[in-house]
């Protein structure tokens, strides 16, 4: 083995320029993938986290059918008691019951339709970032306080400021008219255009009395430590509501289906792009492998004549291509790793990104930080290593067909 390794290493440097150029091509593609794959996955992570943290949570308990048709009548009885019973478990970092409805909000001069959500002020902050995003005034003070917080764009459109009263007019659960006059105590800026324009929150008990809901609510939103714990979270929730046919547990994929599909589209197109990029690199360096076999036909003939078996020569060539690829990979991973670490510290952004992202209702995405884990980091180098070596085998397979005498006669 020692001698084969030695031979392979020396052969590599018989044509230094070619070796460096080939290793350079491999290093170049490795740098791109080592840098870009973690940034891509980091972007997904931030997108998911930001979208879910604003309001939906990682999972929700609802009545069957509520997700598709959020009717005010389709409510969970004694929702607060159910939420309270879930809070004992350490699977969740946040549990909050919510009631949701639609109402016309009017100030003295303006009226706009808006989503109204009844929340438990004490717990809402555990599942949603809105309480923390109140930029003016304060969040709701208690579960039966007569107060409302609204989005910044809605406040601007209604021309209201902290302390002004808004009139809420909607339809109650029993079909009655739901009406209330509430002072605005807080105005939030979520970074999502839609939420800032169409969203308002009031305390749950106030919601229940205005909308004739009794003790019912529509969803129980649950948050785990991280999104990755989704399977455990869903299992724990399903166990907790076992035996209750009137409830369903929905993960974030079902709550925000567009997000998951959007990421899938992006992932698929991203991988197609990487695939073609790698293919371009492979064809670009295939000539190196081709030439390193063709130009040594005479030498191989001699080795065969001296009693080397074709297998051994093929093994030598494979070792050579593996060494060459590794050389490129080491350079690529070193430079790529340094770059990705740098991005990890300073974050990644491009001009116009924040405005663009805001429009897609994905708040909090001003900078992307790469998601560093072994899979993301090694995916690129691993694929390149496999692809280049497979490419190198194509010319190597010819060695098996060589006839010693004929081979030695080639120029």
């Amino acid at each position: 083995m020692g001698i084969v390794f030695h031979l392979a290493w020396r052969n590599l440097w018989r044509n230094r320029r070619r070796t460096w150029l080939t290793a350079g091509a491999i290093a170049f593609s490795t740098i791109l993938l080592v840098l870009w794959v973690p940034i891509q996955f980091g972007a997904y992570e931030i997108m998911i986290d930001a979208s879910l943290r604003v309001f939906p949570g990682h999972a929700q308990i609802q009545r069957p059918g509520y997700q598709d048709k959020p009717k005010i009548r389709n409510a969970i009885d004694n929702a607060e008691a159910l939420a309270r019973s879930l809070r004992g478990s350490n699977h969740y970092t946040g549990v909050a019951a919510r009631a949701q409805g639609f109402a016309l909000l009017s100030s003295g001069t303006r009226s706009y339709g808006a989503q109204v959500v009844g929340v438990e002020p004490e717990y809402e902050g555990d599942t949603s970032s809105i309480p923390g995003l109140v930029k003016r005034g304060r969040y709701l003070s208690g579960i039966d306080a007569q107060e409302i917080v609204i989005g910044a764009a809605l406040a601007r459109n209604l021309k209201v400021k902290i302390g002004d009263e808004v009139t809420m007019l909607g339809g109650g659960k029993d079909g009655s008219v739901a009406a209330a006059i509430l002072p605005v105590v807080g105005i939030f800026e979520s970074g999502s255009n839609e939420m800032d324009r169409f969203f308002s929150e009031i305390p749950l008990h106030t919601f229940q009395s205005v909308f004739s809901m009794g003790h019912s609510a529509h969803t129980i939103s649950v948050v785990a430590k991280t999104v990755e714990e989704q399977p455990e979270l869903l299992a724990a929730l399903r166990k907790a509501v076992k035996g209750r046919d009137d409830l369903v547990v929905l993960g974030w994929e079902q709550l925000v289906p567009g997000l998951k599909e959007g990421i899938q589209v992006d992932k698929v197109s991203g991988f197609i792009f990487y695939g073609i990029l790698i293919a371009v690199v492979i064809f670009s360096i295939l000539n190196t492998f081709l030439m390193s076999v063709l130009e040594r036909t005479r030498e191989f003939g001699l080795m065969l004549a001296l009693g080397s078996r074709p297998k051994r020569i093929a093994g030598l060539m494979m070792l050579e291509s593996a060494l060459l690829t590794l050389l490129g990979l080491v350079i690529g991973v070193t430079i790529g790793g340094a770059l990705v670490y740098w991005v990890h510290i300073v974050g990644f952004a491009y001009p116009g990104m924040e405005e663009l992202v805001k429009q897609y209702n994905m708040p909090g995405l001003s900078r992307i930080y790469p998601q560093l884990n072994a899979f993301n980091f090694m995916l690129g180098p691993g694929t390149i290593f496999a692809a280049t070596n497979i490419a190198a085998w194509i010319p190597i397979l010819r060695i098996r067909k060589l006839e010693p005498v004929e081979a030695m006669r080639t120029i």
Partner: protein
Amino acid sequence: MIGTSLSLLTTLGWRNLWRHTRRTVVILFAITLGVWFMVISAGMMVGIIEQQVRDTIFNLVGHAQIHHPKFRDDPAIEHSMPPPSAALLAVLNGPAVKQWSSRIRLPAVVMSERESRGVTLVGIDPAREQGLSLIGNPVVEGRALESSDDTGIIIGRRMAEKLETRVGKRIVIMSQDKNKEVADRGFRIIGLYQADLEATETAYVFTGIKTAQKLLGMGNDISEISLITGSREGLDPLVARLREAAPDLESRSWQELEPLIVTAMKVYDNFMIIWYLIIFIAMAFGLTNTMLMAVYERTREIGLFQALGMRPRFIVGQVLVETFILLVIGIVLGNLTGWFTSDVIFAKGIDLTEFARGMESFQMSSIMYFQLEMSDLVTINLLVIGLGLVASLYPAVKAARYVPVEAITRT
């Protein structure tokens, strides 16, 4: 003189290329693959952007709009404007404007028997909207609005699902009238319209402009004027004339109304140049390497040329011409396959309906079309030829520096 030497170099280059058919085919494949990839990714990007721009313009924006100066920031009824004055009419009916229409466009709440939602009530003159905006398209169910005083209402297909209503049923529209009182009125749904994005279908309901003016007690006042011209570029002179004709109103081109899409176009443009460069570098390694090998194995021959009196710059020229032929073949093949991919294989677009909700969250429609722009093709081809020749300079100069006697004696 230059002519004959060029034709000599071309013949030499062409013959040299085919001395090593296999190697030439491999590098040609790499170039073709790279160019093909640049062409289709440009086609895809332009297709996506074009569709977004077209949808945006068609989505009641038009090429330019005229509003009360405060209307865009605060679309309320008191920011309405009188119908166009004689001076403004002269510009609107002039040759630069293809079509224009005035509209009512105000926030409202729509209520069916079961649900209520916030919408934008749009009052239109149906005859003037044809070819100007999406509501000019035929309805998918029921009938279209017939006149300015049509009292029926048209809602989006998916809006009807959300409201659990259908054609023939009545819905109530509530909004604020001129005296800041809540005005409401029942409308019969006469038709359903369809748009690419669900967000559009649930955003607007349409009725006759006179019906809306009567409901809201606004006399002849309107909310906006929208117009289209022959081309969506070069609108500045027209907008300037509109401003002159109506100095107390706000006239804006679509680029000013929708700055985000202009930002997106710029981001994509920059991104594409980086993208081309990445693919190019991936092929450049192979190109340089292949030319280097070609020169290397012809060392003796080049030495002989020099000994016979060929000037070094002719040797450089020979390598450059050889590369040029290679690049031109690669580019022709790459453009042809790119054209074939986008205009023949995917002429009907790529159907991503499966991921519709994901596409929707990026505000893209679920069928993706390729669109090849001549300017992109020119950019790609010039870039590949220009940088390709630069990449082959290294082997070319190297060959020219061979010392004749040494080169000839090299085995």
